[in-house]
Symmetry: C2
Subunit: 86 residues, 2 copies
């Protein structure tokens, strides 16, 4: 019980923060040519469904990590749309 | 019970396939300049822990979707390392 929570929370933190370096790179360099727009859109949709799944299953690591990842990827999407045409 | 399985499996499929467009884009264009290496490494580590979490919790949608995502991101990592210095 304790081990599974530690694994779940650690996994959640890592997958949540994994997109942060990508987001910071885009903000810093203002180029998104090598990024895939379908990836971002499918990812946001999938992550949102994971949040829903976590709510139904009442599993906090799943809810928080995916909700955070949704927010990061919404920022990534907004920067993508802003820098894409430049 | 049925609804949560549908949501979990759909969420799993979407987050699993989300990195495929990115992988195909990298293979096609052979450039990875705008991709973040820390993102890929942290993501693979986090996804692997999710597989472990899914095994402990015995939740198949979590196991399969994250295992698939680990494989896709290992390919992405190998292409990143191959194209980065070019």
């Amino acid at each position: 019980m304790i081990i599974e929570n530690i694994i779940g929370i650690t996994a959640g933190i890592l997958t949540s923060i994994s997109m942060l370096p990508q987001l910071l790179k885009v903000i810093k360099e203002k180029t998104v040519e090598d990024l895939s727009l379908p990836m971002i859109i499918i990812l946001i949709t999938g992550l949102s469904l994971w949040v829903w799944y976590g709510i139904i299953k009442n599993e906090l690591p799943i809810i928080f990590s995916n909700a955070f990842a949704v927010i990061v990827n919404l920022f990534l999407l907004s920067y993508y749309l802003r820098f894409k045409d430049k």
